[in-house]
């Protein structure tokens, strides 16, 4: 049995150093950074329009030399290193641009669900009269399987980037609320909080000064895992055909497009699938490492 070093609260000097020494954090952050860079630099990495349809280049296997003519009639050749799909679009280009959508969804969903969950969690944990009702609604939301809730929400509000983000964020909110609430419930019994209340500190100030700082380390960990699962869920929704509109290059959409011809042209699914897996793996490794460093109590529980 390995004896764990005594936990040092996050924010004190040394936390960055400990993070850097954790191989899981290092590899995860590096890999995630590379993929983020790929998404940001997408126009530099490929000169082709990710939506460009070219009937003569349909269903080419990886490595095929595609040919197209530009507006002035000059011939442009381009090596499709990941092949093309059934509309002749370049898979490599679409995969590179797909990173953008995945990252936007991942980051926005974690920010959104953490912000809303934190707000609800702080107040329900602190104000007893709110607790009962809000927690019943959260229990109800958590009882509906995540994918089904997201599918239903998207289908009802119409598919777009915005609705997908909201639909993916909503099932995550109860998890954040529960986490924040459990922290608030334990913190509010602490002598320094009681002392603050006894000298007449207003509720908002108690929450802001004494409770909120305690929620930050576990929330950073939660945000990381949420980012990973949001990217996964967005890909699943797109793959099932109930996500972001099919013409947008997302990893799930590329795979959805490749489904019907998978037996003949497996590259349409395998390349975006590999990138999706690597991205989520990087984020999960980062999350595992962050949890071990920032929140030792939580790592013991799981």
């Amino acid at each position: 049995m390995i004896v764990e070093a005594p936990a040092i609260a996050a924010g004190k000097p040394g936390v960055w150093l400990r993070l850097l020494r954790n191989p899981s954090v290092l590899i995860g952050a590096l890999l995630f950074g590379l993929i983020a860079l790929m998404g940001i630099a997408a126009p530099l990495l490929s000169s082709i329009d990710p939506g460009a349809i070219n009937p003569s280049n349909r269903n080419k296997t990886p490595g095929y030399e595609t040919a197209a003519r530009d507006d002035e009639g000059r011939k442009i050749t381009h090596k499709a290193i990941m092949g093309t799909d059934s509309l002749g679009r370049d898979i490599y280009t679409r995969v590179v641009y797909g990173a953008r959508v995945s990252l936007i969804v991942g980051v926005t969903v974690s920010v959104l669900s953490i912000a809303v969950g934190l707000l609800i969690g702080l107040f329900t944990g602190y104000l007893r009269w709110l607790d009962g009702i809000v927690m019943r609604v959260m229990d109800g939301l958590m009882a509906i399987p995540t994918i089904l809730l997201a599918i239903a929400l998207v289908s009802l509000s119409g598919a777009s980037l915005m609705t997908v983000i909201i639909a993916v964020a909503i099932p995550d909110i109860p998890r954040v609320v529960r986490l924040v609430r459990s922290i608030v419930l334990s913190i509010r019994e602490e002598p320094y909080v009681e002392a603050a209340i006894s000298v007449g500190t207003p509720t908002i100030k108690v929450l802001w000064r004494h409770v909120l700082p305690n929620t930050i380390p576990p929330l950073i960990v939660q945000a990381t895992f949420t980012c990973g699962s949001a990217i996964l869920l967005e890909a699943i929704l797109s793959f099932l055909g109930v996500g972001i509109p099919p013409e947008t290059p997302t990893w799930g959409n590329i795979m959805a497009e490749g489904r019907s011809l998978f037996q003949v042209y497996p590259h349409n699914i395998l390349f975006p699938g590999a990138f999706l897996t690597l991205t989520v793996l990087a984020i999960n490794m980062l999350g595992d490492g962050l949890r071990d460093t920032l929140d030792p109590r939580m790592s013991k529980r799981l």
Partner: protein, 313 residues
């Protein structure tokens, strides 16, 4: 104990009620007129009015809810707009593949994950432990449909051991049924194995430090016996709890796996119904899945109180 069981059952009623209200409100909170959405763009005003009357949309919302839930409790979820059948008969048709897939997945996952997790705990820090932990991180990260297509590519297309897609009913022969169900179940089991192996490792590790394990070893019992009869038996409660909570992951996985392998189950029905904007079906299936999830976890909870004499409330 009976007191606790009674209270526990009563406590699920508000949860189920909340789920029902949420599922019901989903349709009502849609921007615009749900009847018009259902009728589609080409509908006439008369069509829309007809649908509105059929759904009871012309009545107050609270009345609508009680009519819907009252009928639902009797197994009547109305008629599917798309399939022109009652939703109940539609679900009855589709439930077998889903149940079969879920059951085989849980069996396979348990058979793989529990020995792996126990071994990892027993040899904590060794290469076996590291491999098991790596598998569990990877298992969480690889999307179910990617696992599915990779397995199809390798085992169905390249090796030809399994059929690519499709489902055979149990009534048409057990051999073919199992053969066709194998690849989808392995696919879905991967995610479950990740979750379960990790939990098994943690809980066995905890038990291995207990006095009775040391006593068992001291009196000269073979290691395997200590692991199975002393460690694993006492670690069973958290492991079974994780299986119960994992049902939510499993349900999500079923939806995806059925689409990948073209299995005509409830998961496929959900996606098809959503794409066809068949709201009565969508509502009924989501309600069914959520109730099943809550009921299974309630059952697991209650089993402990009966089986584990240490748990007293």
């Amino acid at each position: 104990m009976w007191n606790y069981i009674g209270r526990r059952i009563l406590a699920t009623i508000p949860v189920l009620l909340t789920v029902a209200v949420l599922v019901f409100l989903m349709l009502r909170l849609t921007p615009g007129d749900p009847a018009a959405v259902i009728a589609g763009d080409a509908a006439t005003t008369q069509d829309v009015a007809e649908i509105r009357a059929k759904l009871g949309l012309d009545r107050p919302v609270v009345t609508q809810f009680f009519i819907w839930i009252g009928r639902g409790l009797q197994g009547d979820f109305g008629e599917s707009f798309f399939y022109k059948k009652t939703v109940a008969s539609l679900i009855a048709d589709r439930i077998e593949p889903t149940l079969a897939l879920a059951t085989l997945t849980i069996i396979l996952a348990t058979l793989i994950a529990v020995p792996l997790g126990t071994l990892a705990a027993y040899r904590q820090g060794s290469w076996i432990d590291r491999i098991v932990m790596a598998i569990s991180v990877i298992g969480f990260s690889v999307p179910v449909f990617v696992i599915g297509y990779v397995l199809i590519y390798v085992f169905a297309l390249q090796l030809g051991w399994f059929p690519v897609q499709g489902y055979q009913r149990l009534a048409d022969g057990f051999g073919g049924f199992l053969h066709r169900l194998m690849l989808p179940s392995i696919t879905l089991a991967m995610v479950f194995v990740a979750l379960l192996a990790r939990m098994t490792r943690t809980s066995v590790l905890e038990v291995l430090n207990e006095d009775y394990v040391r006593t068992a070893r001291a009196k000269g019992l073979p290691n395997l016996k200590v692991l199975v009869f002393h460690a694993l038996r006492n670690a069973a409660v958290p492991i079974v709890t994780v299986i119960g909570l994992g049902i939510a992951v499993l349900i999500g996985g079923v939806v995806v796996t059925e689409s990948v392998y073209n299995i005509p189950g409830l998961g496929r029905l959900t996606v098809d119904a959503v794409l066809a904007r068949d709201y009565p079906t969508v509502q009924a299936v989501i309600l069914l899945f959520s109730f099943a999830y809550v009921a299974i976890n309630l059952a697991i909870d209650l089993t402990y109180t009966v089986l584990d004499p240490r748990i007293r409330y």
